[in-house]
Amino acid sequence: MNTLSNPVNQVRPYLLSSPALLLYIGLFMIPLIMTLMLSFYSYDVDRGGVVAEFSFTNYVEVLSDSYFHGIFFRTFALSIAVTVLCVLLGTPEAYILHRMSGRWKSICMLAILGPLLVSVVVRTLGWAILFGSKGVINESLLAIGVIDTPIKLMFTNTGVIIALVHVLVPFMVLSVWASLQKLDPMIENAGLSLGASPFIVLRQIVVPQIMPGILSGSLIVFALTASAFATPSILGGRRLKVVATTAYDEYLGTLNWPLGAAIAVLLLVANVIIITTYNKFIERKYSQAFK
């Protein structure tokens, strides 16, 4: 009765998964490989654009030019800032949500998930209306006399960060909330009964045990910020470039596809390295929480 020795049964799993596999290969692997190949080609206007010759020119250009260093630095600084803010806002938010009950819980959940239900462009343009020098925020602050001159929010890092945190915090909340669901409901009482203050219970008992949720939430937020395009593009403008908008500009502005591809590949590689390193670090530090 060894079903695996039957040749039909050996093939069956592959047959069953082939539709998804084909889709994955066709829509993800092939474009990715093509982008990777493209990034090693060179660009020469005199020779008619993209030249299919293998070279490291694009990588050398990106890695040696301080202009690109600045863009990569800005992107990762932005990602770290957004991730930290999402952890600081999302974790308490998830905890409070976890402690709520009934109707209020549903209402608050909806408010948190709300941003995800609105198209990224619409939502970002909404922020633009709020942020502008004649925008709602500045007009109200001026009217009540808190400020004398409009605060600059459009085309600033602050504006981009606020808008990104707004849309990405739900991922953090959901992820932390999922870990909180797995927490023993009596664990906090156990801490209290042993003489710990509510703050110490949170800090030393609850937080370490929901670390997997905080970790996966911050990985999602970090990766989404590092590759965010619409929000930095609309609110940051062309001067406040991030990696994703730079790759876009290389493709569609200067038509230097190979350089754009190299930038995209470097972003991917950097993202993968940062995320796996962070993951290893946290998993080691809080190994018991991950079992």
Binding site: D184, N189, G191, L192, S193, G195, A196, A289
Partner: protein, 353 residues
């Protein structure tokens, strides 16, 4: 003055009454169980003592100090939770040391006390493991050690053994009892398991419908239950409705479905409706016509150490338990006499529905 006192404790959630007029006095070093079916208010009572639930009315006193409105973290109680609620991200040692750390006890003394308690619960060699690497019974002992190491005024046990297998549970009962005796800690155990309550406690408090039904030593409680709820919650009994017909010479005669049955005198009045109760193990088999009543064996079940018979009689079905001391030659369908001494009969005031 008793060490732990509950005075007129009441807890209402909206219009639901969880605990009503609970009075309990526990002496220092005493082991008292709160026993009852689910929803009887025993867990709410424990949570009020622990401070997780605020009473609607009444007071809680520990060592003559009113703790009714004291924060849980200030009560100095050791609690073992049903789920153990161990800190999974800490080693066994750190779990146990947590309460001492919160009390800012110096490292040398703390380490010494943790080692001491871990060896008392036979977990000395597991100090650097993590909770998830331990079996259920071991985790249970960690939870106990963590609660005991702070030298609590009162130890509260919330169904601590219910998650364990039957065999380990029995071992843990013995161990729990011996540790509690060794350390002399006043202990309250919440359980729905009557044999656990009787095996462990100095006194058992039976709760029913948010109220304390009866509190007494296990043997006294089993032998002299106040009502049919306590009777049937603590073991099994054959209960029949009847009324007092006559009383003289220390014996009352009770009319049960037209049959005259005898029992020791009680303070019931003639004509009063009572429940006539006789435990299955108090009944002996005798030859037909030689006992109090005759019946036909309708079924018999062998449980290893004992036989359980169901006997059909004119007043209803009896359950009879006989120890498997010798071969019992009573088959299904045979007609037998059932006999008992009147002093084994309990007359219980009928519960007013």
């Amino acid at each position: 003055m008793s060490f732990l006192r509950l005075e007129g404790l009441v807890k209402r959630f909206d219009d639901f009454v969880a605990v009503e007029g609970m009075n309990l006095n526990v002496e220092k070093g005493e082991f008292v169980s709160l026993l009852g079916p689910s929803g009887c208010g025993k867990t709410t009572t424990l949570q009020m003592i622990a401070g997780f639930v605020t009473p609607t009315q009444g007071r809680i006193l520990i060592n003559n100090q009113d703790v009714t409105h004291l924060k849980p973290s200030k009560r100095n109680l050791g609690i073992v939770f049903q789920s153990y609620a161990l800190f999974h991200h800490m080693t066994i040692f750190d779990n146990v040391a947590f309460g001492l750390k919160m009390r800012k006890i110096d490292k040398v003394e703390s380490d010494e006390r943790v080692r001491e308690i871990l060896s008392l619960v036979h977990l000395k060699d597991f100090a650097h493991r993590y909770p998830r690497e331990l079996s259920g019974g071991q985790q249970q002992r960690v939870a106990l050690a963590r609660a005991m190491v702070i030298r609590p005024e009162v130890l509260l046990l919330d169904e601590p053994l219910s998650a364990l297998d039957a065999k380990i549970r029995e071992d843990m009962q013995t161990e729990l009892r011996s540790i509690q005796r060794t350390l002399g800690t006043t202990t309250i155990l919440v359980t729905h398991d009557q044999s656990e309550a009787m095996a462990l406690s100095d006194r058992v408090a039976v709760m029913n419908k948010a109220r304390l039904a009866q509190i007494d030593k296990p043997f006294a409680l089993y032998e002299h239950p106040r009502d049919s709820f306590v009777t049937e919650f603590l073991g099994k009994s054959n209960v029949f409705e009847g009324s007092i017909k006559d009383a003289n010479d220390g014996l009352s005669s009770i009319d049960v479905s037209g049959l005259n049955l005898l029992a020791n005198n009680t303070d019931h009045t003639i004509g009063q409706a009572v429940d006539f109760s006789i435990r299955p193990e108090k009944i002996r088999f005798v030859a037909q016509g030689k006992g109090v009543i005759d019946g036909t064996i309708s079924s018999r079940i062998f449980l290893g150490n004992q036989w359980v018979f169901q006997v059909e009689t004119s007043i209803g079905e009896f359950s009879v338990v006989s120890l498997n001391t010798s071969h019992i030659d009573i088959d299904q369908g045979s007609v037998v006499g059932l006999d008992w001494t009147p002093s084994e009969v309990r007359l219980l005031t009928r519960e007013v529905a």
